[in-house]
């Protein structure tokens, strides 16, 4: 008797159609993941609650609901608080990375990145367990930011 491991779902929330098309192409080479796309923050929030993805990759500049707001909403909901979150943005300023960290994002990727880097990031955040994340969030709450990734 064999047990089938569920395919991890990767949700990509990005409003840019070019990025969506690219990920559709790129994930064809990674059948071990199931790709779901959302075109803005509000849509992304709906999709997260529907499918509870293994990892959500979120852009920052989006209509309706921005990336920060989405991260905040997901971390604030007990049902979604444990989902690993990766920010994928063209914003390169340190303050954006700091903000993402404070809000509870697990990793920050700057565009442009190639698919292998995205996959490496997914594997990395999947290894973070909930106690590590909780410890990191407590550090932030205590206003003692580690300034380091896991």
């Amino acid at each position: 008797m064999t047990t089938s491991t569920p395919v991890p779902t990767i949700l990509i929330v990005d409003d840019d159609p070019e990025i969506q098309r690219f990920f559709e192409q790129a994930f064809q080479d990674y059948p071990e993941y199931r790709l779901i796309l959302a075109s803005d923050g509000a849509h992304g929030l709906e999709r997260v609650t529907e499918v509870l993805p293994a990892v959500a990759i979120i852009d920052l500049n989006m209509p309706k609901l921005g990336g920060y707001q989405l991260v905040q909403a997901l971390r604030g909901d007990p049902d979604t608080a444990a989902i690993p979150l990766i920010i994928l943005s063209a914003r390169t300023q340190a303050k954006d990375k700091r903000m993402a960290d404070l809000l509870g994002a697990d990793l920050y990727l700057e565009k442009p990145v190639v698919i292998s880097e995205v996959i490496a990031a997914i594997q990395r955040v999947l290894r973070i367990n909930s106690s590590e994340r909780a410890r990191h969030m407590r550090q932030i709450a205590d206003d003692q930011p580690s300034g380091q990734e896991y």
Binding site: D29, N61, A90
Partner: protein, 450 residues
């Protein structure tokens, strides 16, 4: 008195305003005082000796040079000479002391003090009064005949008061001028800071705009590099097509950025007659081609374009006009929902061609309309929008092209969604002297339209 300086439009306008005002004030205060003083000397003062005559001429010369220098903006030197001239004259004209004269002087000077609001003028008059009182009580000169003494004294101090007032006025204007210069410096600093902030925003915006398509492009190339041997032909073809499309987008963005430099030489062109209708057709074709390349988010194909443009001939540049119309059309497509119409209309009025491009989209809030033609400027609602990406250069380029052709561009919108926006470009019509060229342009128009 300083209200003229409150709303400067530019630094040079500021400086011109300040200098003109300073000169007017010097002429009013100083010139009047000089005239009154000269008349008093000629009418009232006897010339007991050649020495006094030389003295008067010397004092007058000092005052004249002082006023001239003040008027030429060398206020400190001018005022010093004026003061020396008056001191010299006072020594020569020391009159007999009388209490009624002192009271008259005080009343005259007091009236001046009340009439003037410049602090320096008050100081100058106060000094004048002190010196006058001291002279009257302690140093009565015996020169003027007794019957003329009261009148002469009053008029002398009257003129001295005006003279000192003139000096004070000059100083007050100088203070105002310095304040103006300070205001100019602050204005320039604010302008510089605004420009820097706008540039930062532009760089951040361009950074974002370029990084996103570059991510797709680099990502596709990476896929091709690693999967090429095992990749099915149809997938390879799809990816290559995607690469080309993304590359075109990047080129379009770079073109927009590079146009910032091009506009520096816009005014150096040879105006020729340009057919407005032909330019409209060319602009529509240009935008349609750009839409086909998916550079703009929505297609022009589903838009009903109402073109009500007669055969108007303007005096300008065909490329500029086409670029203006193409940018306005692209804007209309970008800021109005798919399927809504776009109107292009033109008419001749008072020697001008009035061209209007109207959409039925979001509109522009009245409070933000004044910034839409500024370089790198985008409305806040558009900065975070995925559908309405941009560099903030399109309308600025429109204004630059229009002004290079001695025209104007304006925007009208009630800021109500669905009511849309109307851009109006006004350009000078070709003159009758260019009739021959006009016929050629009309011929070109028919050729283009065909």
């Amino acid at each position: 008195m300083h209200s003229d300086y409150l709303l400067p439009t530019s630094s040079s306008a500021f400086a011109r305003l300040a200098l003109a005002d300073q000169r007017r004030a010097t002429l009013r205060g100083g010139g009047g005082a000089l005239l009154v003083t000269a008349m008093l000397w000629l009418w009232l003062v006897p010339l007991p000796s050649l020495l006094y005559l030389i003295g008067y001429i010397g004092a007058g010369a000092l005052m004249g040079v002082g006023y001239f220098l003040s008027w030429r903006s060398r206020v400190m030197t001018g005022a010093t000479l004026l003061l020396l001239g008056y001191t010299y004259a006072a020594i020569l004209l020391l009159p007999t002391a009388r209490l009624d004269c002192v009271i008259a002087t005080l009343v005259t000077a007091g009236a001046f003090i009340l009439a003037c609001d410049a602090p320096f003028l008050r100081v100058a008059l106060a000094v004048g009064l002190t010196l006058g009182g001291f002279t009257l009580w302690h140093w009565p000169p015996p020169i003027i005949p007794s019957r003329l003494a009261p009148t002469a004294l009053v008029l002398f101090w009257f003129s001295t008061g005006i003279g000192l007032g003139g000096i004070g006025w000059c100083y007050a204007r100088q203070v105002a001028y310095l304040r103006t210069r300070l205001g100019m410096a602050q204005h320039e600093i604010v302008q510089q800071q605004t420009l820097e902030a706008t540039k930062d925003l532009f760089v951040a915006s361009i950074n974002h705009e370029l990084r996103t398509p570059f991510m797709a492009l680099i990502g596709y190339i990476d896929i091709l590099k690693h999967r090429w041997p095992t990749m099915p032909d149809d997938r390879r073809s799809t990816i290559l097509t995607d690469c080309e499309r993304v590359g075109r987008k990047i080129r379009h963005l770079l073109d927009q950025i590079l146009k910032v430099r091009e506009v520096q030489g816009l005014a150096d062109y040879q105006p020729v007659p340009v057919n407005v209708r032909a330019a409209c057709h060319a602009a529509i074709a240009e935008v349609r081609a750009a839409m086909t390349d998916e550079i703009a988010p929505s297609a022009l194909g589903d838009r009903a374009i109402s073109l009500r443009v007669p055969d108007l001939i303007i005096q300008g540049d065909g490329t500029y006009l086409q670029q203006i119309l193409a940018n306005l059309l692209t804007n209309a497509v970008k800021y109005s929902p798919s399927g809504t119409p776009i109107d292009i209309a033109a008419e001749a009025k008072a020697g001008q061609a009035i061209i209007q491009v109207r959409d039925y989209g979001l509109g522009i809030p009245p409070g933000q309309q004044h910034i839409v033609f500024e370089r790198f400027t985008r409305l806040h609602r558009d900065i975070a929008s995925a559908e309405r990406k941009g560099t903030g250069l399109g309308l600025w380029l429109c204004r630059e092209y229009t002004e290079a052709m001695h025209g104007t561009i304006t925007v009208a919108s009630r800021g109500i969604e669905g009511d849309g926006t109307t851009f109006t470009v006004t350009l000078p019509l070709a003159t009758p002297e260019t009739e021959g060229a006009k016929r050629n342009a009309r011929h070109d128009a028919h050729t283009d339209a065909g």
